[in-house]
Amino acid sequence: MKLPIRSKLAGILSVAVMAGGLAAGLSSGAPASANGGNSTIRCETGGVGTGGAVEFNLEARDGYISFPDGNTVYTWSYALAGAPYLQFPGPTLCVDEGDLVRVNLTNPPHGDNLSGGIPADFTSILFPGQTGVTATGGTAGLLTQEVDAGVPGDMVTYEFTASAPGTYLYESGTDQAVQVQMGLFGGLVVYPSAGRGFVYDGVNFDTENEFLLIFHEIDPGLHVGIELNSLAGLTGDAVLDGYDPVSRHNRYWTINGRSFPDVIAPNDTPVLPTQPYGGLVQINAGDPDGAYIQLPALVRYANAGLDNHPFHPHGNSLRIIAQDARPFPDEIEAYTETVAAGQTYDLLAEWNDVEAWQGTGAPIGVTLPALNNTMFKGGVTFYSGDADLGQQQQLPLDVTTFTTCGEYYFPWHSHALQEIQNFDEGFGGMLTLWRVDPPKEFDADAGQWLSPTACR
């Protein structure tokens, strides 16, 4: 085992990572720029395999992730084969209805990289919600064929036909109580035959505003216990010794593997190399003149955790259209939905003339206090200085605002409120923001409707 050397190296790098991680949300200005480089779903589309299959090569990997309070946590997850780091959650696999999907899973040996395979006896992947999944290779386990983690090159191939569109998870099917908690999960999206602008046939959305929010929670005690055992050279079931699941006590709650405020940093922020997926939900308000039909944003929830999480946005209701990739007979307008462990939900988010903002109604018309009578805690704010969408006004000189074009920000979070903290530091944890930009405008140069220039 080369774990000790690798882990020390990782530890050193993680310190730098966590410092950057804390800064990511708070000091890089606007959380994400509109329409590009933001937190929209980032699909892995796979290659073309034999038989026309959409083929993904995944590795089970270990490595480190960081949290806004400065902590670094040893984690297991998946990565595309050959990737320099694990990624947490695993790669988001996107396929189309009717595709033959093939996933090859290996557990690579530890090399000189930051991370290698996981020090377990076996590991595997389940595809809950899929029917007719076949698994070939490896060793028969309780729920599926498993990769022998100690045998280099051992591989299991999972195949299924993506028969029903919607949002799914994939996750370890081996010693799930530990391996799923350690982070072996990812998202799977099946687009309907109508195309990638649709969530189900007949239900389309703004493809610039599609988001996948994967929930999870972490007890660092489990992770540290396994890290220390693996540093001591233990493998297999022995690496799990010393952790009592009955005493599981979560300290971090994550959206797409990050805790707030890291959640609102954009995709692929360089300061979070093992946590590439952002979670800021960003939409454009509807065009009050009706010249441009603003389609709703699509938000996909997927709870990969072991706990149930009541999750809701502030500021507006949502249109809940499906659960577990099965459309409701009629959509439900609601805002809080308890996303049970393993469940997924599909929701449409819109902002149309809510509270008669400047659109077709009168401006909100709030009388603002004089600047010298206002203060902002910490000297930073998500407030633009004006109550109306798209308007920016002066703020006190020593105040930094994260707004760029008078956009609105609302919390969107677990309402199990102990979950929106990072080891007792709040706000944090399973919390993101809902960014509402002004309506799109027609950009004559680009020949299309785009967010206002100031928002981009």
């Binding site: 899929q130 029917t131 007719g132 189900y200 699941p245 009955v246 149930n308 409701f328 007979p329 393993g342």
Partner: protein, 645 residues
Amino acid sequence: MAQPDGVQVMTMSSNTRTDGTMKTKTTSSIRSRIAALVATSLLASVTVAAATVGTAAAATDIWVCAKPGSASVADPATGGTSTMPVAFTGFVEVASDLDCATAIPQLGDPTPIRLTQGVTYNLNVVNQTGFPINLTAVGLTGAPDLTGIADTATDSYEVTPAQPGTYLYESSLDPRHALLGLQGVIVVDPAVPDGTAHGNLVSDYSTEQVVVISEIDLSFNNAVDPFVEDLRNFKPDLYLLNGQTHTAGSAIPPIVADSGERVLLRYVNASSDNSTMTVLGLRQIIVAFDGEIFDGSGAAGELPRNESNIFLTAGQTADVIVTVDGATGDQIAIYNRNLRTSATDDNGEQLLMIEVGAVVAPVAPDVYLSLNNTTRSLAGVVVRDEDVALWDGTTISVFFDGESHGLIDVAPANIADIDAVHVDPVSGDVWFSLRQDFDKPTGAFAAEWAAVPDVRLQENDIFKFDNAAGTFSVWLDGSAIGLSDGLNRHDINGVSVDPVSGVTTFSVNGSIITADGVPYMTGSGVTFGARNEDVLRWIPVSGAADPSGPGQFNVLFDGTDFGLGVENLDAVVISATDVMFSLTTEYPNIPTPEFDRDDLIACRGHQSPPLGSITDTCTAPLALQFDADVLHPTNAGQVDAYSLG
């Protein structure tokens, strides 16, 4: 109806749908006090008193003992190589109180107390726990019993279950009671046993399994006196399905079911936490939560009926159907996705397998049919168009003889021809509609038709023949629900009925949109339009109690999605998963296999279009359900009504 002591017995009525039970409080309290006073020596006589009350009220006695028990649970921490002793207090059903001495309660017992909808029971509880308890059947019991049953006493609760389903019962006098194990399951079967959980098609099943979700805190349960334990310290360390743990070396015995079987899982969350039950690789169709039916009518706010993960709050029950699909020996995992465990190398302790037994080819159901305006000799049996014939796969017989009920042709004005039929194979009840109007039978037949008010039976009505009573009634008055504009009536030419929910699925002859495109078909003020290649569904608000009352239409099956335009559906059969129909003409575009005009064609796994989608779907190409050639190969086109049994 009054009991001897004057206590009113609550029976099923319109305002007791979810509250159809009550404790015979006055009697019980007095009995309890007496019992407490005289203690154990008079237990038998107290029992007699309770039984006497039961007899007087014509109630069926159920006996339940509450007493301490001990269990031995596979210890997940050792991978199941050792067991953990668990002390608990539980309920156990017995034949009579005399059996309590020897009865042994089971931890997390999935064996339900089985009741029948609409029947009145005395739930007699013999308390041998050492402390006062009560019995609260969540969703069944009315006012809570705050007095309870003293230790060594026996008391009785009167229950008349108003609706079928799965219910949790427990002792609720103290929060410790349920944690100690004083919980159990009541299953209420439909009033008419028909192989379903709720009397509707979607709850049809062949195998059932109660799955009780619970947990144990060993330090609490095994304490010398749990009643002095501090509940703030309650923290489970064993997580159970049906009183057992799944461990690496010790599996919970599997549910054995054949491939293709519909397995009814009755989840009962008797734990103090919310749980999420997953079936790997199979979809779970939700039939009911807490005994309340999901009818799939698409009402706003209704939850989906088809999930991977069923979220059950503490105390909740759910009835779900899974259709087993696999090869012999396959193991299909049912587990709590909250993955609760006390062992590290574990998948979670709450895991149970469905083991696939045989792979059985589906048995072709019996076929009920009626002919179109003709009399034929089918396999040597003369069948008229006012009859309903039964084909059991080998022979044909007349199941419902129209002439013997007054449906006798008097040419030319009065021709009786059944052109839509639905048969309940258990009760033998027949629902039908006629091809054209017909004078109501009189004379010798007047009595059996007395409940039908019309002088002339109309083609847009659906009549019900009650097989037990031998009488006819109007099931659905087509004119009352808008199948008429006053001038033109729409002949109902295919029907399928859900006798419990009253949901009636049918097709009509001719378009029901007027020539200028103005829809005139209205139900409860809702303007509605569809055409003769569609299958329509009528959902009455009051269910089977008043199928012709207020309700709502929708299109269940849009023929246009299957290449049907000018064609006319003339038989409709609905199963739990399929929509089946026949046509008055040959199927257009001649797919393979070719469908004749009197064949029954099936859309398997039919899904109505969700949300904004415009297309109905089947899980397979349209298939031949029944080939009428087996009856009479040279006379295609003579069958105009089908029902399957």
